[in-house]
Structures are given as C-alpha cells and as structure tokens.
C-alpha cells in the first residue's frame, strides 16, 4: 500500500510541509527509515536525528524543525504515528470458520465470521460473538460467553461461566477465572472455600500473556471497560478494576481490592487486599500499597507514601550510615559540652 504524504496528512488531520506528492509505502524509526518511508519524532531528545534520517518524510509536532525534510506537522505525533501504524499494518484476514481439528462440544453457539483454529477446545454452553478468533490451544470451559471481535491467543483458558465483552484481546497463556485463593483454617490445615463467582471482562480490554484473573468467591471479579493489563499480572478474587486503567507487567492486586478509573500501576507493584484506590491514582513501579489512596494521588515505596516524599526519602537512604556516624559524634560532643558547662557552673 502506498499513499501520498498529502493523503496521510488529511487522514491524520495534520499539515504537510514540503512535497505532498511524496509516496509513502511504510513506516520506520528515525534510525532505520529509508527511501519511501515515513518516520516520526515524538521525543524531543532525538530531534537531532531528523537531520540525518534517510526517511522520505517525517511526522513531528507543530513547531518542530523538519531540517528541510518533507514533513507532516501534527498536534500529537505519537498518537498520529500509532494510527498510521494501524493503517499500514492492518491485514484484513478472511475468517476461516471452525477449522478441522477444533474440538467443540454440542450446542455451542457461534456468531458470524469466526476463526476457530485446530486445537481449540470449546465446552458446552459456550456462546461466541461475531468475528471471534480463537488460536490453537484456547480452552473455553462450560458456559463461557465471548462478545464480538474477541481474539484469544494460543493457550488462553477461560474458566466456567466467565463473560468477556466486545473487542477484547487476550494474549497467550493467560488464565481467566481460575479459583481465587481462599481457605479457612479448620484447626489443623486449610479448608477450601469454593469459588463459585465469575470474572467479567468488559469491552475494549486488552490483557497480556501469562496473566491470571481469579474468579470471585461468590460474585464477580470485574475488569472495567478499556483497561489494559500487561503480562504476568495477578488480579485476585472479587477485585473491581475500573475503566481505562493501565496495569504494568508483574503487578499483583490482592483479593477484594478496588481500583477507580484511569488508575496506573507500575511494574511489579503490589496492592494489598480489600483496599481502595481512587480515580487517576498512580503507583510507582515495585511499590507496595497497604492502605486506601484518595483520587489523583501518586504514591511510591514499600509501604507506599506520597511519591514526592518517597523520592526525597529514598535519596537519603544511602546516606543512613553517614547519619549514624554524625549522630554518634554529635552525642559525644554534646556530652562534652554538658560536662564542660557542669564544670564551669561549679
């Protein structure tokens, strides 16, 4: 596919500088782009590379210096480039239907234009929407419901009766709806508390690879509309995750925690059970949150405190041994002063 720079600028709602007839056949980074390719400058740190890139055109922010190159100016070049990537990389694959080698129970309901690969297992009572794609090794337990335009990558499991909305993508190996971790001490060991709730994944959610979302004990573990979850993330039973959240790799949210909307959890963060994070809360990577956090706060540390305080405190931590010495020295000096004054007083 080739498009002129002018067509692209029109598509993006940007403004051409230079030759609008330039044909663009692909996209690449500043370093790698060549003849016929468009590149972009999102991070001002790399502005110098615009001068040296071999790209035929560059997409950059209003006010940027195109160094004489053909250019498209745009209010948000990063987002614009992402949209172009979608345009250039979209491969409209024809649906393949239920392929031989797929293992379906009787009575499964299947929408239009699905692709169910060989090696998929679908149990009874499952309902698939339109344009669903299931890769090999996907296992849908009884009673699972998938909306329209859902893609489940290879080896994803969705457990009994869980419900997935529209336009949801789940990457390889992720498990949705396995039992929450609930046991009651019975005097000697642990008595398993049956986990009979479900997981509900709302529309427009994307979940990375090898993550796990536990089913609720009684009710619902919910992932809100538009939320994005990275790889190897743990969501405990009964959690209620808001809309448009972003949860980075290896973070864990313990049971019954509640996240508001637009909450961002950094990598390897831990959220304790039963606590609440308000809307727009941000938690720095590797932090451990042990208490409720009001809306719009940024917190970090173990246990987490306001991010600014944490930055200051952690800058000081390395100097603790020095403080210890200073403190001991001061104690001596004060004792000497006290002695001296006592003598003087006499």
């Amino acid at each position: 596919m080739k498009k002129s720079l002018a067509e692209i600028a029109h598509y993006l709602g940007g403004r051409v500088s230079g030759d609008g007839e330039t044909l663009i056949g692909g996209l690449a980074t500043l370093d790698d782009a060549g003849e016929g390719e468009l590149t972009f400058l999102a991070n001002p740190r790399y502005a110098g590379k615009v001068a040296t890139t071999r790209a035929s055109a560059v997409l950059l922010a209003e006010g940027g210096d195109p160094h004489g190159k053909n250019a498209i100016f745009h209010a948000n070049p990063y987002l614009a480039f992402a949209k172009l990537l979608t345009l250039f990389s979209a491969v409209p694959a024809a649906p393949l239907g239920v392929m031989p080698g797929a293992l379906l129970a009787e009575g499964v309901k299947i929408g239009a234009d699905v692709t169910v690969h060989p090696g998929v297992s679908i149990a009874s009572g499952v309902v698939l929407g339109d344009r669903v794609t299931l890769h090999p090794g996907v296992v849908l337990y009884p009673g699972v419901t998938l909306g329209d335009d859902v893609t489940l990558h290879a080896n994803v499991s969705v457990r009994e009766r869980c419900r997935i909305g529209n336009r949801v993508t789940v990457h390889n190996g992720t498990v949705i709806g396995c039992d929450g971790f609930g046991y009651a001490p019975d005097g000697t060991g642990w008595y398993k508390i049956p986990q009979i709730g479900i997981v509900v994944i709302e529309d427009d959610v994307e979940i990375g690879a090898n993550s796990v979302i536990d089913r609720a004990a009684l009710e619902v573990t919910r992932i809100g509309r538009g939320t994005k979850i990275d790889n190897m993330v743990q969501i405990g039973h009964n959690c209620l995750i808001g809309e448009d959240c972003m949860i980075v790799s290896q973070a864990g949210v313990a049971g019954s925690a509640q996240l508001g909307n637009h909450v961002i959890l950094g990598g390897q963060v831990g959220i304790a059970g039963h606590i609440k994070l308000g809307d727009n809360v941000m938690v720095g990577g590797k932090s451990g949150v042990t208490g409720n956090v009001a809306a719009n706060q940024v917190v970090s540390g173990i246990p987490a405190i306001p991010h600014r305080e944490w930055l200051k405190a952690s800058g000081v931590t390395a100097r603790l041994p020095e403080f210890k010495k200073t403190l001991s020295a001061l104690e001596k000096r004060v004792a000497e002063l006290e002695n001296e004054l006592a003598r003087t007083a006499i």
Copy 2:
C-alpha cells in the same frame, strides 16, 4: 437443592434461632442475598448489614445480633459458610472416561472413573489413579504418576517422572518439573547442569494458575501435604516445602530453600536460596528473606527483619529528609556552642 434451616444447622453443628423450617436454596453475600438465601457475617465490621440484608437467614458467630432475622449461631461462621458452599455448589459430574481426541501413548495405566478431555497428551509410562480429571491441553511427560482424585486444569504440564499424590488440584498453565536454573561458569559462558531429579507433590495440595515448580538437580523438589500455592509462584529446584504452608501469588522461593510446616509467605515475597524457615514462620508481603528464620517468627522488609521492628522503621522512613535537616541544624548549633564555650574559657 433446598434444605431447612434446622437441617443446615444440624449439618454444621450450629444452633437455630427463629424459624427452623425456613427453606434455604442458595447462599449469597449480605449485600446480594435475597428471599430463600442464607448469608453470613464473618467480619464484625459489617455487623450493621445484618439488619438490612434481604436474606431469609443469616449465619453468625455466637453472641452476634441477628437483628430479628432467622439465624444459625456457630463458633466459626466463616468455616461453616465455606462448608455450606461446598455442600450447595458440589456438582457430582459423571466421569466421561477417555474422550475421543485425547492423545495417549501405548501402555498408559488408567484408574477407574477418570475424565480425560480431548486435547490431553499423555506419554508412555504414565500412571493415573482413580477419579482423575484432565482438562484439554494437559500434557503429561513420560513416567508421570498421578494419585486418586487429581484434577489438572487446562494447559498444565507435568514433566518427566514427577509424582503427584491424592486429592491434588492444579490450575491452568502451571508447570511442574521443568528444569531448575543451574549453570556452571565454564570460563566463557554457562555450562548447563542437567536437572535429573523430580518433583513430588504430596496429598491434598492445591496449586494456582501459571505457577512453576522446578525439578531437582539430582533428588527431589517436594511440596508437603496440605500446602496451598497461589498463582504465578516460583519454587526453585531442590526446595523442600513443609506441610500446610500457604504461599501467596507471585512469591518466589529460590533453589534449595527449606520451609517448615504451616509457613505463610505473603504476595511477591522472595526467599533466598539455601535458607531455612522454621515452622509457623510468617513473611509479610513483598519481603525478601536472606537468612534463616527460627520457628514462629514474623518477618518483613528487604532484607526481612522482625515484623514489629520493620513496622516501626518503615513508619520512620518517610521522615528521613526531616531527620537529615534536624541533624544538620543540630551540628551547627553544637558547633556554635563549642565556639562560645571556647571563647568563654578564654
């Protein structure tokens, strides 16, 4: 299934207050329960909800206030409710045998009343006990042994010659018996140390989803009877995990570590290699344990220290920058005092 309140009280060993003839057809939370349902109060924080629940009856601790509702009093309402959940949710599924589409090598030994779903792969020399359930995508490598009443969920792998006891449940995607992480530096790179030991999972163990338990280098990695392991937990090679332990999500135990009985590891905990934790040790979430811990201790922090000390220290951490200022100010004041005294002395 419907049971009278009196029948339920008898089953649980509890005491009815109100109308014992009330019929109960299901269980739900204080908030969600309705007509014909039983709810429970385990956490005194929610005692007020007993007055407003629409449940037909409530299960609560001796001495609790039923607010005029039909009630069952019980010494341990949480455990009692769990047992009721088991009673009400148990669905006695008829065994389905080895289903078409299951891939079995020759000579596999299979007990009575098993269910082996399509898409299961079983290699030569495998032995399955009675009432084993294997979901699609389960892969058993050569020589694996499973006891009675074992359930392996979809996409679980059990590697060569590992042994799983009775009444063991493993959730989706978990890997048992892959190679331990052992390499010897050979002057330039890393020489792989063959991992020829196995994993032994004792009776009544439950393991969550996407966890990994490495096989021993030479001998056995052992998970003791009754131990419960959550999702995405790493158990390194040669570890010996005691009985009735509880290991929460995303915790990792490095190679050759030993845990006593009834040890509890919080979420995202790390245990260093070759160390020993005594019986009943508890490790707070996100802690890193780098040395042996005697029985009955509670530890937290990185590196872990007694939990009480850690609580105190972490409460102070945020005030470090303030201390730094106080310390600098004090140094100045002491210097001035010293100067003044020196002058006075002259």
Copy 3:
C-alpha cells in the same frame, strides 16, 4: 552405562587417587550416593561429608581431603560433575518425525530428524531446522523460524515471524513475541500502538517456564547468544539483552532497556524502561534499577545503589526508630545547653 574411574578422570581431564579400576554406574549427592556411584564436593562447607559418604568415589578440588576414598581431583569439580551428569544422563532419543495428531499448515519447511508431537500447531510459512523437538501444545504462528537443535516444551507459543537460533531450549508455557505493552493516550482512553516488530533469540539461549518476551513495536527485541533466562521473567518490547547474561526468576526488564554482556539479574529484579546496564553488571535480588549502570558495577536496593552502600544502609534501617529517639533527645540537650549558656552570658 558403567565407566571406570580412570576413564572418567581421563574424560574430565582430572587425576585419579586410589583404585582407577573402580566401576561407576551413576552419580549422586554426598548424602545419597551408594555403592557404584560417584559423588562430588563443590562447597567446602560440606567437606566433612566426604568421610561419611557411601559413594564408591568422590570428585573434589585439588588439595581436598578424600578421607581415604577413591577420588578424582579436578581444578573445577562443580563444572566437572556437571559434565559427568550430561554424560550419564544423556538419552539419545531416536527422532520420531511429524507424529499423527500434529496440526501443520501447508508448506511448512521441516529439517531432518525432527520430532513433532501430537497436539503441536504449526502455521504457514514456518521453517524448522534439523533435530527440532516440539512437545504437545506448542503453537508456532505464521512465519516463525527455528534453527537446528531447538527444543520447545509443551504449551510454548512463538508469535508471528519471530526467529529462534540454534541450540535453543524453551521450557513450558513460555510466550515469545506477544505484543509489547504500548498505548498512546488519545484524550479519553488508550489507543493501541500496533506492535509489528519481532523477537530474535540468538544461539545457545535457554528460557525457563511461563516467561514472556514481548515483540518490538517496530524493530527487534533481541536475546543475545548464550543468555540464560529463568521462569516467569518478563522482557519488554525493544529490549536488547546481551550475550551470556543470566536473568533469574520473576525478574522484569521494561521496554527498550539494554543489557550488556554477562549481566546478572537476581530474582524479582525490576529494570526500568530505556536504561542501559554495562557489561558484567550484577543486580541484587528484588532490586529496582532506575538509572543507567556502568560496566562491572554491582548494585542493589530500590532504587538501586552500589551494593556495598546498600548493605551498609540496609543494616542501619532497622535502627531508624532508635535514631529518631536519639535525635529528639539530642535536640533537647542542645536546647538546654543553649539556654544555660545564654543565662551564663547574661
């Protein structure tokens, strides 16, 4: 297989002490070895066990005390024992070819002497080298290339167009090439940035179970020759990992980070995005690295600082509450001194 001690010593380049005709049929630990077995002493801490082992011979470092046992002395007994384990445990399995029940698209190119188990799915355009072994549940997406002597364990996924070199082993459930976690805020929610790059795994890499290596947004996520990656490790998109690195379980490397050669990351380490670690850097377990680290440094802590400083600082942390008291007491004493001097001055 039985070999004489003399043969073994010759194979290893070691020196026999005692009876070189002793026949060795197996290997075991100091504690477990018996008649006809060879054991080894690598850790001087266990030197006393050489006296009591029931092994027929012991492999130990030059200068070690064989306590009268038959022995092989070797400059590097740990490496030597690993090589012996390889020798004794290697089972030359005959290749089984593409077995019935494997699901192959048309036009897949397959090298000599492969073993493709039932339940493997291979998409169009895939190329397999010689002596490739694919266990059940392996899924190769379109255009994947595997070199010679590659083993992929059960339920591994390799996504579109990723390339794996020679002599690479990947353990169960690991995902190579799923989408990187990239979204651009579009004013309301998150706009997905298509991830159209690939992953390249170079020769002699080994990757543990349930790890995830994200494909690049545009270019390549690269794992360098000889690098060893443990279980549940996250490698973000666009990362460039050097040669002969060692990345321990549950560590995470965020997007676009670069590791030099021979870098070692401890368990549960987190590396922030876009930073660079020089050659031979070591990062202590559970640390969080937030800035570049020059070659040959050892760092620890959150955020990571030089390991020695961290050791000192973390030794002091537990005493913070005590410091706080000392500091308050000192403040009082200094105030009193100041008052007294003021009085004296008058």
